[in-house]
C-alpha cells in the first residue's frame, strides 16, 4: 500500500525535482499511515533518497533503460506499483514524467491529475488543487479511481527533509520488445547551459530591447546569477532568439524562484506562462506596462542604462556573498 514515487536521474544523479516529489509522497504516506517506495532507473547511489523520506528503493539497473523511454519506463513503474500494492503514484512534471504519466494512467486504469500544486485537500474523496487556464486559475480535481497518479508542479511543494531508511532492493521488471518500438536515435542537449525548467532564476528579454544585438547584457546578467535566459513571444517570432527560449502560454512555463523581465510589456499570455515564478522583477521604461501589475518589484526607466548598472552591482554583491 506504500506511496510510489518515480525518481528521475540523469547520468546516474538525481534531479532536484525528484527530491521534491519524494517529499510530497512522504507527506501523503504520513497522513495515510504508510511508507514511501521510490523507483530509480540506473541510479548510482540511492542512499541520498533517505533524506527526503524514502523508506524503500526499488532500484532498476538495465542497460536498455539507459536512455529514457516512456513506454518501457511506464511498464516498469506499473510492475513496481503492482508489487508494492501502491494506490498512489507521485511523479514530477518534467517532460519525461509528462510523457509517461498518461500511458501509465491508461495501463493502470488510474485517474491522473497533472500540475498539482498542493497536498490533497482531502483523501475521501481524493481531491487535489491544480493549475488550469495556464495559471490564470486553479481547479480542484477529484480523482475517482482506486489508483491515483499525481503530477506535482515544480517548486509548488518544495524539498522537505525527513530522514528515513531508503532500503535498497534490486528490482527487475519484465520488459518486452513492444516497450521499445519508439527508438531514441540521438539526444542533443546543451550541457553547459542552465535550462528554463531547472533554473532557480530566469532572466528574460522582450521587444523593448530593440534587437538581437542587444542581448549581451541579458546574457551577462544570467551568467552572474547562474540563471537561464528566456524571451517573450514576439522576440522568438521575429527570430531574435531561439524558440526554446520563448516563455508564456504557448511557450515554456516558468516556475523559478526569481524571474527578471527586461523590456517585456507583460501581455496576458506572457504573464500566464510565468505566473508560477515566486518573485517577479520588471524593468521597463513604460510605467503603464501591464507587467507592473503582476510584478513584485519594478524599476521604471531605460533598460539600456539600468541593466549594465545593475549587472555591476550584482557582480559586487556576488563577490561579497560568494
Amino acid at each position: 500500500m506504500s506511496v510510489l514515487v518515480y525518481i528521475e536521474s540523469e547520468e546516474g544523479k538525481f534531479k532536484k525535482a525528484s527530491f521534491e516529489v519524494a517529499s510530497y509522497a512522504k507527506e501523503i504516506a504520513n497522513t495515510s499511515g504508510t511508507t514511501v517506495t521510490a523507483v530509480t532507473f540506473n541510479a548510482q547511489d540511492t542512499s541520498e533518497l533517505g533524506k527526503y523520506g524514502v523508506d524503500k528503493v526499488l532500484a532498476i539497473s538495465n542497460n536498455k533503460l539507459s536512455k529514457f523511454n516512456a513506454e518501457a519506463y511506464a511498464d516498469a513503474l506499473k510492475q513496481a506499483a503492482e508489487k508494492e500494492g501502491s494506490k498512489v503514484i507521485v511523479l514530477s512534471q518534467s517532460s519525461n514524467s509528462k510523457y509517461l504519466a498518461p500511458i501509465l494512467s491508461v495501463q493502470m486504469e488510474a485517474g491522473y491529475a497533472s500540475n498539482v500544486v498542493a497536498l490533497p485537500e482531502s483523501t475521501e474523496p481524493f481531491t487535489v488543487k491544480r493549475t488550469a487556464f495556464t495559471n490564470k486559475a486553479f481547479s480542484f480535481t477529484k480523482i475517482n479511481t482506486d489508483t491515483k497518479i499525481i503530477g506535482v508542479s515544480k517548486n509548488a511543494f518544495g524539498v522537505k527533509e525527513k530522514q528515513a531508511d531508503a532500503q535498497e532492493e534490486e528490482f527487475t521488471p519484465t520488459l518486452s520488445d513492444e516497450d521499445f518500438t519508439v527508438k531514441v536515435e540521438s539526444v542533443d542537449k546543451a550541457t553547459d547551459k542552465v535550462t528554463i525548467a531547472d533554473a532557480e532564476i530566469v532572466v528574460s528579454g522582450g521587444r523593448g530591447l530593440k534587437g538581437p544585438e542587444n542581448w549581451g547584457m541579458i546574457e551577462e546578467m544570467a551568467e552572474i546569477l547562474g540563471a537561464a535566459t528566456a524571451c517573450s513571444k514576439p522576440v522568438s517570432d521575429m527570430g531574435w532568439r531561439p524558440h526554446g527560449e520563448h516563455v508564456g502560454q504557448t511557450g515554456k512555463p516558468v516556475a523559478s524562484n526569481l524571474y527578471i523581465a527586461v523590456g517585456v510589456s507583460g501581455a496576458i499570455q506572457h504573464l500566464a506562462g510565468i505566473n508560477a515564478a515566486k518573485t517577479k522583477v520588471v524593468i521597463n521604461n513604460d510605467p503603464e506596462a501591464p507587467f507592473f501589475k503582476a510584478a513584485d518589484y519594478g524599476v521604471v526607466g531605460d533598460a539600456f542604462e539600468i541593466v549594465p548598472k545593475l549587472n555591476e552591482k550584482l557582480k559586487e554583491f556576488k563577490a561579497k556573498n560568494a
Binding site: K98, A137, I143, D188, G298, D302
Partner: protein, 248 residues
C-alpha cells in the same frame, strides 16, 4: 496517408478567465473561442503532408454544437472532413476514449493532438489516446517527417531535443516547432467558402466514465502592489531580493 488531427475548442489566449454557478463552470460569456494553439501547429503540419506527400486530413473534436465554428475553421484551413463527437468533454480520459472509439475504425496512420489544451492544461489526451489505440507515441513533438511508413520525430526535452524513430501508426503530442508560427495557415475566402460544403459528421458518444472531475475553480488571490525602485538606487533592489524575497 490518412491523418487525424484532434482539435480542442478553447478560449482565446487573451481571454479573461471567470467562473459561474458557484465557481463550478467556466464563464463563456463574451469569450472568443479558437482552435487550441498546440493543435493549430499540428493541423498546419498535417496540411504540409497533404500538399507535399499526399494525405487526407480529418479533424475531430469532442464537444457540443457550439464547437462547430472551430471545426469549420479547421476545414477552411484545408482539412478534408470533420467529425464531432456529440458530448461535453468532462476529463482527459473520457475525451481520449471517445477519440479512440472513432480513430480505431478510421485506419489512420498518423494522429496529431496538441501536447495540452490551453484551458484545462491536462496534457494527457495524446498519451492516453496512443495507449488506447496501442499506437506508438511521441510527446512534445517539434519536428516530424514520415517516409516509407517510418516516422522521424523530434521531441523537445529540458535544455535540448531528442530524435526518435517509430513505425506507423503514430500519435504525436504537438506544439510550436512542428511548424513555425509564421507558417501557420490562415483561412482565405476560398477556403471558407469550400469549408461550408465539406462534410461535418456527428458521431454519438459511447459515454465512457470519467476518472476525474472538477469540483470547483478558484481564481488566484489578487497580488499586492508592485514595489517601485528608483533607477538611481539599484542597491535597494539587490537588498530587497536578498533580504526580503530571499531569492539571490
Amino acid at each position: 496517408m490518412k491523418i487525424l488531427v484532434c482539435i480542442s475548442h478553447v478560449p482565446d489566449t487573451t481571454s479573461k478567465i471567470n467562473f459561474t454557478d458557484g465557481d463550478s463552470k467556466f464563464d463563456t460569456n463574451g469569450v472568443q473561442f479558437v482552435i487550441n494553439p498546440n493543435d493549430e501547429f499540428g493541423l498546419t503540419r498535417a496540411m504540409w503532408f497533404k500538399e507535399k506527400q499526399g494525405a487526407t486530413v480529418d479533424v475531430i473534436n469532442v464537444g457540443g454544437p457550439e464547437t462547430e465554428p472551430t471545426l469549420r475553421k479547421a476545414l477552411a484551413i484545408g482539412a478534408d472532413a470533420a467529425i464531432r463527437v456529440n458530448t461535453a468533454p468532462t476529463d482527459g480520459f473520457q475525451v481520449a476514449k471517445e477519440l479512440a472509439n472513432v480513430a480505431k475504425d478510421g485506419g489512420y496512420d498518423l494522429v496529431i493532438a496538441g501536447r495540452e489544451s490551453i484551458d484545462y492544461n491536462g496534457g494527457m489526451v495524446p498519451g492516453m489516446l496512443a495507449t488506447l489505440l496501442k499506437a506508438n507515441f511521441v510527446n512534445n513533438c517539434i519536428g516530424l517527417e514520415i517516409e516509407n511508413e517510418k516516422a522521424k520525430a523530434i521531441r523537445e526535452i529540458e535544455g535540448g531535443k531528442e530524435t526518435l524513430t517509430a513505425s506507423l501508426p503514430l500519435v504525436v503530442g504537438g506544439q510550436k516547432g512542428l511548424v513555425e508560427e509564421s507558417d501557420l495557415k490562415i483561412p482565405n475566402m476560398r477556403g471558407i467558402m469550400q469549408a461550408r460544403k465539406k462534410p461535418l459528421n456527428i458521431v454519438e458518444p459511447t459515454q465512457p466514465e470519467s476518472r476525474t472531475e472538477t469540483a470547483k475553480f478558484e481564481k488566484p488571490a489578487p497580488k499586492g502592489d508592485v514595489k517601485l525602485i528608483d533607477p538611481e538606487n539599484l542597491d535597494e533592489l539587490i537588498d530587497l531580493l536578498h533580504n526580503e524575497a530571499k531569492v539571490i
